[in-house]
Symmetry: C2
Subunit: 409 residues, 2 copies
């Protein structure tokens, strides 16, 4: 029988994603690398800061000249100059001397600490009193204290966020080597599916999945390529899948609304040499018919046709696949599992993982999750949900007040 | 004295953001509206689904014909046809008749329920036994059950995510009216700041803030425009700020590393007619010198020069300003405050809000936050942090195990 699934757990299928390998790399100017993944270790060519800098507005001096001073017993300093911002300081301080310095300014030779302006008082135009004892290096950031020349500052596999851009700017590193952005072929299937711009006749429905999956791919920073709507026929499916596998890095198909579509897709995949079906049928709701294959090293993901199911499964399997192809290191991204509490009893069936659409509400500092009711095909329920909560495969639902993991939508 | 601040709390300053108004709007094809903000209510022109659909694979029939049936006492049905996917069903069912239908297929006239294939058995090629009692509408999603024609399905002010794109696709709504994307002028200032591509001489530092703030603006989906590095001089600052205010929707300056720079910026702002300084000086760390002004209705934000401080303040004030200019409704976005526990004692000073850089670690299902130590100017600490935790203005730090809000970086 075609509809026969060897059902796996979501965790079993997730483990099989490791077989896929990151794509190659390219070099881009550092300022264009936001949300890309580093494909090399970045080594700092220089110390940061490159010179000792004051962290306060005040007077650079020798710490030892302040030992034992206090409000009632200040030390006297000769002010021999002011450090100009952005310039080399020519000053060398001797005992009992000080130089005015602003935050970020260079701490001159001979000085090893900075007295904050709040703890000083002008005695005359060349002399100050300092009221506070300093230890050496107080209010000074030393050359190389932030980053040392030769140090690995960012590792291969790291996602580049604004702060990594800042670090690359700080050390003047450009271009940088980043992984290629995966190009994802997206196919809609189903005899009832028509393009959005076409008014559906009775029995037909607009192609929602094309647009939700394209949007989700865009959000990962990878490149969606829509390959068209395939009819539920072997040759039409084969032609579009073949094009995607030849030209792109991954292919995703949404399987029409019929349970049988992904079986037909499975038969099409078997006709390609080098196909290994990694999973077809998951103990999950929604998303039972999910299909995953490895075709000569390229991932192929078959999603259920229901828009809600397709989005949930793309979130759980499509996004991790794209992370792997992008070269994103697991270690670099802490897998943070946010917890909320069930706002009411939520039934489930043991033996499958349930993803329940919920709205979130904060009350007394706790986030409560309330299920969104309604039949599973409804797109309106998805736009009204804030997230999904996961009910584990061994659980028979959640009781009011019980904790559960949440995925934000 | 120039450095005099009338220090406000962050909450006091946040309240003043309400005075700013959303920009105008434009129309875009729905598939280009991802991450934009709706500037109109969307009303569905049609029912969704447009026809009654089966939610299972099985046989459409009259529910009343199954009343009282069971495994041992099945009902007999004449199968008079199969509903083709994507086509109008010409069939009208009479009592005792059934029609084969796939998930998503049209439920024909005369039928009001669908018996799942699992609860049927072929008797001969035209007749089935059905083993389960159905109630009317069981396994059927009625026309308009998801969305009714004339219903407001998305409200003005809503952020368009993949699921909203899906809804717009489902009802065939294009183009859509969205708020204009704010254009944000960004100025770096400080005599010591040089462009990244230039090798800094001693005393000079590369312009980190340009690139971190540009990247953060990109992440909000708004448009960064870099206006250059201004020297700490009235005329240079005035020229660049004037250009930004004339041509763009908001101006952000990073204030060099000296505490005094934002005072000079404040003087420059006073020279524009229509300037109202809303705040200069905040009880927050990092970020005390923060400056916010309203210049003829356009927001101007002065950030501290330390890269870390600039990022924290842009997160806390720049992003909310951009949401307001983008027309994003507060109601539409639940303000979710994620909580973690302090992994060790974290001291703070009452009377100011502290934002402490932390790494996060999951242990026994709890997320623990560990402070990243080091001097505040260090960019390396920011790339090593997973987030910031907030220590409230009345708190004197956190004890190990105490809960705190976290902002992910």
């Amino acid at each position: 029988m075609k509809g026969f699934f060897r059902v796996q757990t979501p965790a079993q299928l997730l483990q099989k994603l490791n077989r896929f390998k990151p794509l190659s790399y390219e070099e881009v100017p550092f300022e264009e690398s936001l949300h890309r993944v580093l494909a090399e270790d970045i080594i700092s060519p220089a110390n940061l800061p490159e010179f000792p800098r004051s962290t306060v507005d005040g007077f650079a001096l020798k710490a030892k000249d302040t030992y034992g001073v206090s409000e009632k017993n200040p030390a006297l300093f000769q002010v021999i100059g002011e450090i100009p911002m952005g310039k080399i300081s020519e000053i060398t301080l001797m005992d009992g001397e000080a130089a005015k310095v602003a935050t970020g300014g260079m701490v001159p030779n001979g000085a090893d600490a900075v007295q904050m302006v709040e703890y000083t008082e002008w005695v005359d135009s060349h002399t100050i009193h300092a009221f506070k004892t300093l230890s050496p290096l107080e209010n000074v950031i030393q050359a190389g204290e932030d980053i040392k020349a030769g140090e690995v500052v960012l590792r291969k596999g790291r996602l580049i966020r604004p702060q990594e851009i800042g670090l690359l700017a700080g050390i003047g590193r450009t271009p940088v080597r980043v992984s290629l952005r995966p190009r994802v072929g997206i196919i809609s299937s189903g005899d009832e599916i028509v393009p959005v711009e076409q008014k559906p006749l009775s029995g037909e429905v607009r192609d929602i999945n094309r647009h939700t999956i394209v949007s989700m791919v865009k959000e990962t920073g990878t490149i969606p390529v829509f390959l068209g709507i395939a009819k539920d026929r072997f040759n039409d499916l084969k032609e579009k899948i073949d094009l995607g596998l030849r030209e792109l890095d991954m292919v995703v198909i949404t399987g029409g609304s019929s349970v049988g579509t992904l079986d037909l897709v499975g038969e099409v995949l078997q006709s390609f040499p080098g196909t290994e079906i990694l999973g077809h049928g998951l103990s999950i709701r929604p998303g039972k018919p999910t299909l995953l294959a490895d075709i000569d090293g390229k991932p192929f993901l078959g999603l259920p046709g229901h828009p809600v199911s397709a989005m949930v499964i793309f979130h759980l399997f499509g996004k991790p696949l794209l992370k792997i192809l992008s070269g994103l290191s697991d270690e670099m991204e802490p897998q943070i599992k946010w917890k909320v509490k069930a706002g009411r009893n939520i039934p489930s069936v043991a033996g499958r993982e349930d993803y329940v659409r919920v709205t979130l509400e904060e009350k007394d500092g706790i986030l409560w999750a309330y299920p969104v009711f309604g039949k599973s095909g409804a797109i309106s329920h998805l736009v009204n949900a804030d997230g999904l909560i996961r009910i584990g495969i061994d659980d028979e639902g959640l009781e009011e007040g019980e904790e559960a993991e949440v995925i934000l939508l």
